[in-house]
């Protein structure tokens, strides 16, 4: 057990590529956590996708033992926080486990708008911020300029910012010293009943579910019988330890410390982020504040391209879910796409990550349908059914419109940071998406815009548009603010007069026509010509609101074919047949898979 005064818990805030991972590696190396040989590049980001996208999905912590200039040895816990808005709640729990943060800024790039949101979040948790100006080895480095930016834009004192180069190992000792002297030690009564915050959990094939905890009060040790106050389950702790970053077991973790426990838990779903762990006997009576049940907010259908791979998909999704309790799935069947799953996610990025992992790690060929949000629908009573309320996850389940009394849709509060020059286009985008402007302020040449937006407008390619409008410079952050009534209708897409369930969507009446027209135009380009002409229509109820026609194919013939050509012709036919197997048949029309996804991208307007 380390004396409270000798513990420091901190995270690192940095814009992508400003050197967070490199610095973390340096800190580990400097304090002897790993030998040179054991340092595989960038220890903290351990998933391929995390590495590629430069984001962290799971919180990781490393304990460093650092002997400071005062001669004392400190326990430093470096917490790597999830790096995306979809995981805002998880981030808030990780931050709640720390008392300070290193703010790493690239000496050549300066402060990036996105960093602001993270710094402010950290400040909200009363963190002490220690600025680090990294990459001073670069010829283009302008540390003094950056120091000024930190003060002007972020508004914190940067006079003592550490000048460092994570790459060349400059300033590492100074950073460690600053952590010890600037960041306050944690507080916590070690004699009080146990209260440990569940910061994150993941599935390990050897250890089962591993739970990352920050002990707030009391002490947690092996053999202790604990209960999860929100989850309502009891467990026997069979391992207590920390990462150095190698897994090391220890006897106990006391208030102020961060580490992990295992308790023969089979599913991460049982270990809810933000839960309070206490002892079964003489436990705490009050749970920690800030717990939230995470609910999937974005849903989509995932179908195997090859119907025979349905079981494989079920297996793969099941395995992913072992490690990620935040997404949900249930079987779904679609007339167009066959059997698949309706999956729920924390947000669009979360959706993309899961989709990518299924494709890459599990080698699945997937068709993903339009993302949709959850609507609350109030139904009037009918002759046979009473009035009721239902939560609609799938546009295909849209009830008889004549019974609908009211539909509510989820709204978010979005904060967007952008360089000034893109402001106009971004405001227009928000306005087009039914946004309500709350605030517009300037912070050092960058605009901060706050908007209320219906989530269903955001899942419809909002990120893509924002990125392309701002050439990637705008950042986007959001929180959910509840349900609001909306004038919403179901828009069906009919191809050759048959509704294609996988393409139907719930839209606001005011934008239905524009969206319908756009969908029809896209589909006209995406569906190849057939032997007959194909009407493509968007309709609300029985009323067609947009229409395009795909002209019939006029020519597809081998002009010259004699004896020598038979084999070649036959190969062509084989290829043609195989190509067809990859399409979906709908009212005699073959729709290529890409059409299902591509049709939903608005593209340039």
């Amino acid at each position: 057990m380390t004396d409270l005064a000798l513990i420091r818990n901190f995270s690192i805030i940095a814009h992508i590529d400003h050197g967070k991972s490199t610095l973390a590696d340096r800190l580990i190396q400097f304090t002897g956590g790993l030998t040179e040989r054991e340092m595989s590049a960038q220890v903290l980001d351990n998933m391929d996708i995390e590495k590629e996208r430069g984001i962290t999905i799971k919180a990781q912590t490393v304990r460093l033992n650092y002997t400071a200039k005062d001669g004392l040895t400190y326990q430093l816990n470096l917490m790597d926080t999830p790096g995306h808005v979809d995981f805002a709640y998880e981030v808030s729990r990780s931050l709640a486990a720390c008392e300070g943060a290193l703010l790493v800024v690239d000496a050549a790039q300066g402060v990036e708008a996105q960093t602001l949101a993270n710094v402010y979040q950290s400040i909200e948790h009363d963190h002490e911020i220690v600025p680090v100006i990294n990459k001073i080895d670069l010829p283009a480095a302008e540390p003094e300029q950056v120091r000024k930016e930190i003060e002007d834009i972020i508004g914190i004192d940067a006079s003592e910012a550490v000048l460092a180069s994570a790459k060349s190992g400059i300033g590492i000792a100074e950073i460690l010293e600053a952590i010890v002297t600037k960041i306050p030690p944690p507080k916590g009564d070690r004699d009080a009943p146990l209260k440990a915050m569940l910061v994150d959990s993941w599935y390990d094939p050897y250890l089962g579910v591993v739970i990352l905890v920050r002990v707030i009060a009391g002490t947690i040790r092996k053999g202790l019988h604990v209960k999860f106050m929100q989850g309502g389950t009891d467990h026997l702790i069979d391992r207590v330890g920390f990462m150095s970053p190698k897994i090391e077991q220890t006897k106990e973790l006391a208030a102020g410390e961060i580490g992990f426990i295992t308790a023969q838990i089979k599913e991460v779903a049982q270990a809810k982020v933000g839960d309070t762990i206490t002892t079964v006997k003489n436990g705490a009576t009050e749970a920690l504040a800030g717990f939230k049940e995470v609910q999937p907010v974005v849903f989509c259908g995932m179908f195997p391209v090859d119907a025979a791979e349905f079981e494989k998909l079920r297996d793969s999704i099941g395995k992913l879910r072992l490690n990620d309790a935040s997404f949900s799935f249930e079987t779904e069947s679609s007339a167009a796409l066959g059997f698949g799953f309706r999956c729920g996610f924390l947000g669009l990025l979360h959706l993309e990550i899961i989709q990518e992992r299924l494709t890459r790690e599990y080698d699945m060929d997937l068709i993903t349908t339009a993302p949709s949000v959850v609507y609350r629908i109030q139904l009037n009573k009918s002759r046979t059914d009473p009035a009721q309320e239902l939560m609609l996850h799938n546009p295909a389940d849209y009830p008889d419109p004549s019974r609908i009394e009211q539909i509510d849709e989820p709204w978010i509060k979005a904060t967007i940071y952008t360089p000034d020059e893109y402001l106009g286009s971004i405001l227009k985008l928000c306005q087009d998406r039914r946004g309500i402007q709350l605030d517009l302020t300037y912070v050092g040449g960058r605009a901060q815009i706050t908007y209320e937006l219906p989530l269903n407008e955001v899942v419809f390619d909002f990120y893509d548009r924002l990125k392309s409008i701002s050439r990637g410079y705008a950042s986007f952050d959001y929180e959910q603010i509840g349900l609001r009534e909306g004038d919403l209708v179901k828009m069906s897409i009919l191809v050759n007069n048959e509704p294609v369930d996988a393409l139907s969507m719930i839209v606001h009446r005011g934008v239905a026509e524009a969206r319908g027209r756009h969908m029809c135009e896209r589909l006209k380009d995406l569906i190849p010509r057939h032997l007959f002409k194909i009407p493509v229509q968007a309709a609300i109820g029985g009323k067609v609101i947009a229409r395009e026609t795909i002209a019939a194919m006029r020519k597809d013939v081998t002009a010259k074919c004699y004896g020598g050509d038979i084999s070649r012709k036959k190969k062509l036919l084989d290829k043609q047949k195989k190509g067809k197997a990859k399409m979906r048949e709908y009212g005699n029309v073959s729709i290529p898979q890409e059409a299902f996804i591509a049709a939903l991208r608005m593209g340039e307007e």
Partner: protein, 383 residues
């Protein structure tokens, strides 16, 4: 066994930019060696597939009109000795319409050739230049006149649907062509084949092929004019007055057996597909090594044969007889043709059904490849 013999002469004076046939340009051709090799190849083939008199022989290429008439004569003599000739045998030779070659027509006729297919390709000098042809329109027409004197049956080829070609332009050319009074015409739309110079040109943007819609208009116009002239299409690109169809080519389309000799020649006999060595030098070497000059000989399964029979047979206006194919390959008709698609395509008037016969309608013909993809049952296609 086979009653049709194809003989391939692989040499050309120049390679045409649109042609993906097995043709080669060589400085000199050792005629004696080629005569010996082709005769040996023919004997070898006859050893495997003789017994019935030949009803057709076709000299294709390359440019078979470059063959010395004496060589043509020697090959025909040997073929007659090996197989025997049925009465009224059709002997066709593909000829280049140059003055040099026209001067040989009399000798070729003496050697036994009764039908020529002239590679006129166009009646317009600019188009001939684009197509990389060595002859002029005037030279071509002169050669046609000689051919019509020397041979009882004459056909010629035209290539249309050239980049930018208009309906008026093609109408004018085709009307002139119909005026020459031949009993057979091959009218091909220009297709950009992979590996040809045109394919490279198109890739580099040197020109763009005619779009499908105007090409389809030209196809319809072709049908209209040839019908009116009494020389209707009996195959996608082939037109004949009644009784004047190429019997040899019908053998392919009706999927009857045929022997193929010479470099790269294909054959189908008794359910076996054969291919000769393609490169002239390899072919010669294989023959002189007294080994096999067949580079590939593969037995086709009944499904594969049925698929081939359908994709060839549906090129013909007469269509195919499903009951006969069914009996021939021992497969139920239902496993050869997708019945739902057949119904749909019939409703769309792209396909017709009469008793056991099905066929592609004139409006379906320009869509044949797409129709085959729909009609031919998945069961016939390799997994």
């Amino acid at each position: 066994m086979a009653r049709a013999l194809y003989i391939h002469w692989p040499f050309c004076l120049k390679k045409c930019p649109y042609c993906d046939f097995n043709s080669h340009v060589r400085a000199g051709v050792d005629v004696a060696a080629w005569q010996a090799a082709l005769l040996a190849d023919m004997r070898h083939e006859a050893g495997l597939a003789s017994g019935e008199a030949l009803e057709s022989i076709f000299f294709g290429g390359g440019t078979p009109s470059l063959m010395p008439p004496s060589l043509v004569g020697a090959l025909l003599e040997e073929a007659e000795r090996l197989w025997g000739f049925a009465p009224g045998i059709e002997i066709t030779l593909e000829a280049n319409p140059s003055s040099v070659e026209a001067s040989k027509f009399a000798d070729l006729a003496d050697a036994g050739v009764g039908r020529v297919s002239l590679g006129l390709q166009s009646l317009d000098n600019a188009a001939l230049k684009f197509l990389g042809r060595l002859h002029s329109a005037e030279e071509g027409l002169a050669a046609l006149e000689v051919a019509q004197k020397q041979f009882r049956r004459v056909s010629f080829d035209l290539i249309y649907a050239l980049p930018g070609q208009s309906v008026e332009n093609w109408r004018g050319e085709l009307e002139r062509a119909l005026g020459f009074g031949t009993d057979h015409l091959s009218l091909y739309q220009l297709t950009i084949e992979p590996g040809t110079r045109f394919a490279t040109d198109v890739r580099c943007g040197a020109f763009a092929p005619l779009e499908d819609d105007p090409a389809a208009d030209l196809f319809a116009l072709t049908r209209e004019l040839t019908d009116a002239a009494g020389i209707p299409a009996y195959e996608i690109s082939n037109h004949a007055r009644p009784g004047e169809q190429s019997r040899h080519n019908l053998t392919y389309w009706r999927y009857h057996d045929y022997c193929g000799i010479g470099p790269g020649a294909h054959g189908r006999r008794g359910g076996v597909a054969t291919v000769r060595h393609k490169k002239p030098e390899n072919f010669l070497a294989a023959v002189s090594a007294a080994g096999n000059r067949i580079s590939e000989s593969r037995e086709l399964g009944s499904r594969e044969q049925a698929a081939e029979a359908l994709l060839m047979g549906l090129r013909l206006a007469e269509g195919v007889d499903l009951a006969r194919l069914s009996a021939r390959f021992g497969l139920p008709a239902a496993s050869m043709i997708d019945a739902d698609r057949l119904r749909l395509l019939t409703d769309l008037s792209l396909v017709w059904q009469r008793g056991d016969r099905i066929g592609v309608t004139p409006s379906g013909m320009p869509l044949l490849d797409a129709l085959l993809g729909e009609l031919v049952s998945g069961e016939l296609v390799a997994a």
